[in-house]
């Protein structure tokens, strides 16, 4: 069992947990993910790693409750445990495997949207620990949903916070901040954008104009996470890739985002029903107008 040593609600319906998982904590790297299950009947939920403590043997995950599965995760308390916690899965961020001399003069721009701040954090932290100061844009719908601001501030070169509604920091989408920074004369060699698929798509459309190489981290539907099922296939540069073993990070300018977004919808109806069943129990028998029968 994988004990939850710490649980914290970072914002409404966004939770952080430190989970005891010695094997994962020992070998994981920024960019990789884990798959968790809450109980013996639970679905396998992939989550990008937010942080890790090799000595304590813990891995930090951050998640937002969006469906029945994540809602059940949120119900777990400190001292309780996940039924399953497997990883690290996928490839580490490209720069982790490169020679330090090759990356130390690179100008990194990270763009995080919403809960995407969680997977961005270990990358910025890793660079910080290796003496590289990266600029970070964190976008959030509104002030109350902003997460990990202090943590990010401690490891980023410059941190730019923007909210869609202007309730905190700059006002507008992350793409606006990218435009502003470049207009101010900032120059970057590589951009790493992680957030909702639609945000990554628009960041990539913009950075393509600037000819700024951009890496994105995809979170498609997955089952096993080890290459066995092919549920997570995405088209990159016209070729089919499995996000779980070939990714999850890819060249954002080559990703077919429209297809990837369509594929995320495959189980939406069923997920919605599962959520209703969880909220209303046996009482939900149709007639709500949202389900077919």
């Amino acid at each position: 069992m994988y004990k939850i040593l710490k649980k914290k609600e970072l914002a409404a319906n966004i939770y952080l947990m430190d989970v005891e998982a010695k094997r994962v904590a020992k070998t994981c790297k920024p960019g990789q993910f884990v798959i968790v299950r809450t109980d013996a009947a639970g679905e396998r939920i992939p989550l990008t790693i937010c942080d890790y403590d090799r000595e304590a043997g813990t891995v930090t995950i951050v998640f937002q409750t969006v469906g029945a599965g994540t809602k059940m995760m949120a119900e777990l308390q400190e001292g309780e445990a996940f039924h399953d916690f497997v990883g690290p899965l996928g490839c580490a961020s490209e720069f982790v495997g490169e020679e330090l001399s090759a990356i130390k003069d690179k100008r990194f721009l990270f763009v995080a949207g919403g809960v995407g701040a969680a997977p961005v954090y270990p990358q910025v932290k890793w660079l910080h620990e290796h003496g590289i100061a990266a600029d970070v844009i964190v976008g959030s719908k509104t002030k109350d949903l902003l997460i990990l601001e202090k943590e990010m501030e401690a490891v980023a070169g410059n941190l730019y916070v923007t909210t869609d509604d202007g309730s905190y920091g700059r006002s507008g989408m992350v793409t606006q901040t990218i435009k502003d920074l470049i207009a101010e004369g900032k120059q970057y060699d590589v951009c790493i954008a992680i957030g909702p698929m639609i945000m990554m798509k628009f960041v990539c459309l913009l950075t393509k104009e600037y000819q700024l190489p951009t890496i994105v981290s995809l979170n498609p539907i997955m089952v096993d996470g080890t290459g066995m099922c092919g549920a997570c296939r995405v088209t990159v540069d016209g070729k089919v890739k499995f996000a779980c073993v070939d990714g999850p990070e890819f060249d954002g300018h080559a990703v077919n985002f429209d297809e990837a977004m369509r594929r995320q919808q495959i189980y939406k109806t069923q997920e919605g029903r599962a959520m209703l069943a969880l909220q209303e129990g046996e009482t939900h028998h149709g007639g709500c107008g949202n389900c077919a029968d």
């Binding site: 396998r44 039924h83 399953d84 690290p88 899965l89 066995m228 099922c229 549920a231 297809e259 495959i266």
Partner: protein, 461 residues
């Protein structure tokens, strides 16, 4: 009784079973088993044993069934096989033991598979366990993967007194027995879980949620965790797709994904939290056992199901029994048909599959007649779900993270068939990771050979 005819085995009615996930075959009772066993003429030079990849003493156990001593029959089988309840259900006996049976020359061969199944089920119901090692060797062996190869290798090594730990990537042990083969062919909690319990009762430890090549590596297991030998039985790997347009549309799945959702994640059961697509009209592309499993699963989930295969019925790689069962249940076979494109609507959902008719030409390198396109024979099948069952290619997770472990041009691990020895000292391999996709029993045979190889190696022979 006509000695030339086998005792028929009871099955669930085809129309009824097509709507449920309960086991198709109901198996023999003791009277039926004893009667069938009495047909065995106990050949001195038993050909059936030669046909068995794990060389079970078949006339030996049948003799005990004949005598009505089922416990003794079980001990005879468990000397050679760790998974008799599984093998009795899923082995292709018609090409192995039963295919060699002398009785089969003039009449029906002995139903060896059904007898094995009866003995194993009886032992389970009567709580009889295989016998473990009397002395411990104090040497640690790691087994990667808890499928048929791994379980067999682990069971044999434990019986020899080794301290065995199995590392499994998924959350449940069993490999293909759990994620691949459906409940209606191989019940999970009643049969597979119990066989795994038996292996554990021999002293084998199973650590789930460990992905070798990611969570840790073969080298770390040997250098840091003190394992003196390792068996890799990591299984088949990545599903193949056809490479035709539209294959990423919503509603196209690999058979691996579809079956894993249904079998491992139990999404056929309403209580499961994992969704599965409930198609109305499903095309399963391919003709192997996995294709039959996917088709029969889709059927049970309420779909009209078509098997789409580019050769003719004669070339279907699936077991005759599986094809027969699928037909009985109402699966439609569209043979000599090959998909060329998958069509979808503006939101990306599958609406149909363009196909072309084929005919058989000259034999190809596999010895089977090559399917050739019939010009201008294109047509569109209206389907909402397509399941690709075209086989797998090896998973590079282990081979790419282990120093000195050689793979062949198909990226399968190179291992000696006789003893499972790989190019890396102390590391052995077998099953689909070595051969590419094959059968449960061949994987078990390889696991068995490797256990012997590892014992020889660790005994300094």
């Amino acid at each position: 009784m006509d000695v030339l005819k086998k005792i028929p085995v009871r099955e669930q009615d085809a129309r009824e079973r097509a709507t449920n996930f309960q086991e198709v075959c109901l198996g023999y009772n003791k009277e039926e088993a004893m009667e069938e066993a009495s047909r065995c003429i106990n050949c001195k030079n038993a050909q059936c044993i030669k046909g068995c990849p794990v060389a079970i003493n078949i006339p030996g156990f049948i003799e005990q069934v004949k005598n009505g001593d089922i416990a003794a029959a079980y001990q005879v089988i468990s000397e050679s096989s760790a998974l008799p309840a599984v093998c009795g259900r899923v082995c292709p006996q018609e090409t192995q033991c039963e295919g060699k049976c002398i009785r089969g020359i003039k009449g029906d061969p002995i139903s060896i598979g059904k007898l094995e199944r009866f003995v194993a089920d009886w032992a389970r119901e009567n709580n009889i366990k295989p016998e473990g090692a009397k002395e411990k060797k104090g040497k640690k062996v790691a087994v990667i993967g808890s499928g048929p190869a791994g379980l067999t290798c682990a069971g044999d090594l434990a019986k020899l007194g080794y301290d065995v730990t199995i590392f499994e990537a998924l959350h449940e042990p069993g490999g293909v027995l759990v994620y691949g083969i459906p409940e209606f062919r191989l019940p999970k909690s009643d049969v597979v879980a119990k066989e795994i319990e038996n292996v554990k009762s021999l002293g084998v430890k199973i650590e789930t949620n460990v992905v070798i090549g990611k969570s840790t590596t073969i080298d770390e297991l040997m250098d840091e965790e003190g394992f003196e030998a390792i068996f890799i039985g990591s299984g088949a790997g990545l599903p193949k797709f056809m490479g035709i347009p539209g294959e990423n549309a919503n509603g196209v799945f690999s058979a691996n994904e579809y079956l894993t959702r249904s079998n491992l994640m139990k999404s056929f059961d309403e209580r499961s939290n994992t969704p599965i697509m409930h198609g109305k009209k499903v095309a399963v592309v391919g003709g192997g056992n996995v294709a039959m499993d996917a088709a029969r699963t889709a059927l049970r989930l309420g779909a009209e199901v078509h098997i789409v295969y580019r050769r003719s019925e004669e070339e279907l790689p699936a077991r005759v029994e599986e094809v027969h069962h699928a037909k009985e249940e109402g699966v439609i076979f569209d043979l000599l048909t090959n998909p060329t494109e998958i069509l979808s609507d503006e939101k990306g959902w599958v609406t149909g599959m363009k196909c072309i008719r084929m005919e058989l030409g000259e034999p190809d390198e596999s010895g089977r007649r090559r399917p050739v396109v019939i010009p201008d024979s294109e047509f569109t099948m209206e389907v909402d779900t397509v399941i690709m069952s075209l086989g797998t290619s090896p998973n590079p997770l282990i081979s790419s993270t282990t120093d000195g472990l050689e793979t062949n041009k198909w990226k399968c691990i190179v291992a000696d068939e006789a003893n499972g020895k790989t190019t890396k000292e102390g590391v052995y391999a077998g099953g689909d990771a070595v051969t590419g996709a094959a059968t449960v029993i061949l994987a078990m045979g390889a696991g068995k050979a490797a256990a012997k190889g590892i014992d020889d190696y660790l005994s300094g022979r």
